[in-house]
């Protein structure tokens, strides 16, 4: 279990090199394909992302973690070809972001409208749950993620690919954690325990509750990456230090998002100060960096900065601010390697659960 799943196959952790930990290739909210104003020119998108990846590679970058999750434009076959051509490893993600942006109704409504029939209906109900079906429960989410981590990710067509995800994404809105988000967060932790992969969470305003939910499912802090810690609305270096001290990972991953109207925008100078403070406090071994760049927006604009912004502009800025070579290497190479290397699964029931999952398959009348 020490190899990492990328879109071009399993690789040794040492081969990761410099990693940008939170980027998007294609990116759109679910439903974009129905909007006439959203244009997906696949050739154009391919060309543009390939250029971005090549620029990243030229500056020394070797791996991009693509963290858009299931529903936000992920296109595995296209990403695989891009990875082959550019020579940049792409690590892809399962899971959902906040309900507002990413969890579609299909996964939200517990037992909604479900009327099972046939002799095995009892097999599809969660014991003790009043809901007639398991849709929208944490178990359902867990199976969804677990299958993407072990069998392969679902493609944009109705085909499951052979490329496995290596990370589970979860998140929440800023004001509250909705029920669907809770199920997704718990499901993410359960799937991560069964496979040994890490969890990447965002929605840093709700980090306390998210952390509670993740650890309540038995996930150790060392398998949790708290993303978006440089969200301009919720910067709090003492919070970051607190979580770093208990072993969680802190993601400063919106580098380059400097201007409004992005609500989480913040000047890179302030980000550099944050990182500097963390490094000075001895937490360099808990920080990962990234740009959250969008290669091609689906029904939304791409970011002005690309994946190379990290190495081109921000790393020199950090160096100038006095962050040493050693700390930079830790944050860009060693930390991502330690996060992404799968650990031994802590939930030994994975096999039994897989069998259990078979009972959850829905018989479709007429299909």
């Amino acid at each position: 279990m020490s190899e990492i799943a990328t879109l071009t196959g399993m690789i040794a952790p040492e081969a990761l090199g410099i990693v940008a930990f939170h980027e998007a290739l294609l990116f759109g909210r679910p439903g974009w394909q129905h909007a006439p104003d959203a244009v997906f020119d696949r050739a154009e998108a391919f060309e543009r992302i390939l250029g971005e990846l090549a620029a990243f590679r030229k500056l020394g970058g070797r791996t991009i973690v693509e963290t858009s999750g299931i529903a936000m434009g992920r296109n595995v076959p296209m990403y695989r070809r891009l990875s082959e051509l550019s020579g940049v490893n792409i690590v892809s993600t399962t899971g959902f972001v906040s309900q507002e942006r990413s969890i579609p109704a299909h996964f939200c409504l517990i037992g909604y409208f479900y009327r099972g029939h046939g002799p095995f209906q009892w097999k599809r109900a969660i014991p003790g749950s009043p809901a007639p079906s398991h849709v929208g429960t944490k178990e359902y989410m867990m199976f969804l993620f677990y299958n993407e981590l072990t069998e392969g990710m679902a493609g944009p067509a109705m085909i499951r690919t052979t490329s496995k995800a290596a990370l589970v994404r979860c998140g929440s809105g800023d004001a509250e954690i909705t029920i669907a988000e809770q199920q997704a967060i718990r499901g993410a932790a359960m799937a991560a325990r069964k496979t040994g992969v890490p969890v990447f969470s965002d929605g840093v305003s709700q980090v306390e509750r998210q952390f509670e939910l993740l650890t309540a499912e038995g996930l150790p802090p060392g398998r949790i990456v708290i993303g978006h810690c440089d969200d301009g609305r919720a910067v709090d270096v003492s919070r970051d230090m607190k979580y770093a001290a208990i072993g969680a990972w802190i993601g400063y991953d919106h580098i380059g998002w400097e201007t409004r109207p992005a609500p989480h925008a913040m000047p890179d100078g302030q980000r550099a100060e944050l990182v500097k403070k963390m490094v000075d406090a001895g937490h360099a071994d808990r920080v990962v960096l990234s740009c959250s760049a969008i290669g091609y927006g689906l029904g939304m604009p791409a970011t002005r900065h690309g994946y190379s912004h990290l190495l081109e502009s921000f790393v020199p800025r950090l160096a100038k601010a006095g962050v040493g070579e050693r700390a930079l290497h830790t944050m860009l190479v060693e930390n991502p390697r330690r996060i992404l290397t799968p650990v031994e699964p802590t939930d030994k029931d994975a096999d039994r659960l897989h069998e259990f999952a078979q009972g959850f398959r829905l018989p479709m009348k007429g299909s």
């Binding site: 299931i70 579609p104 109704a105 996964f107 409504l109 909604y112 479900y114 109705m158 959850f360 018989p363």
Partner: protein, 319 residues
Amino acid sequence: MPHLNTLLGTLHPEEMGMVAVREHILWGSSGWEFDPRAWPRIAKVFEKSFNELLDFKLLGGQTFVECSGIGAGRDLDFLVKLTAVTGVHVVASTGFWSDAHTPAHFRRYGADDFARLFTHELTVGIGHTRIKAGVISVGNGAGGMSELETAIYRGAVRAAKATGAALITHGIDTARRQIKIFQEELLALPRVVFGDCDRIIDLERDRWLAGLGACVAYDNVGLEAWSDLPYAMPDQWRAELVAQMVASGHGESVMLSAGSKVANLGRGGAHLSNVGNLLRYFVPELEKAGVAQEAIRAILVGNPKRVLPIQRDSAGGAA
């Protein structure tokens, strides 16, 4: 000239024949496409749809209005092939059903954004195609009308006024609120069909709506006691409802449909009714309830022909 947009282009109202005003081929909550467990075996679903539509056609049906709106399983190329090989005039609809089922991309839309989207689908084409929707189909979930649903209704009304398309609504529990919106937005009520009228039975409400000039659709025909859906009921009751509407002189405001779903994506079994049952079993049921042949013909042919087509006056505005 009034016309109806089908998947294969325009249709003259005289060619519409018997119409099922609210049906579904594929139906799923938005996001089913991300869930391998919800993926239909598409070839089998096509076969089943083909059989059901052909059954409907052989019983005399000619037009099939597919009311799954945007993102809820409306699958254009599937529908185009289906209409091309069966000869049934399949009509696609634009619109969203309920707050929860509106995909994230559209959740920041306001009423005017929705109006622009629906108008685009009715006059230019769905997505980036040139295939146009024929009717607007919107609705609200249980428990009143949320802010987003209000914007969807308002957008639908504005699109209906701009294009002359008919508006079918689903969510009869908010009928009064809907009427208020239509009156505020100055939509002529004869352009509106209230669906789901046999989910909450209320003959007074139906007569009131008909009196205002709107149409009421009893569109769950065939959903009998075998179902454990809360609004299942014997077809005999529905037939009695229709008979009473006709008896009180509101036969011109009634429409019928089976509300069938060939494939219910990710939600267990399909709707076990099918569109053929509307003509095979329910029309005899109506006769038994004492509805005259001419009235049945008006309900299945005349009323849809009057209401559903896109109607514009000679100046180009909605009639």
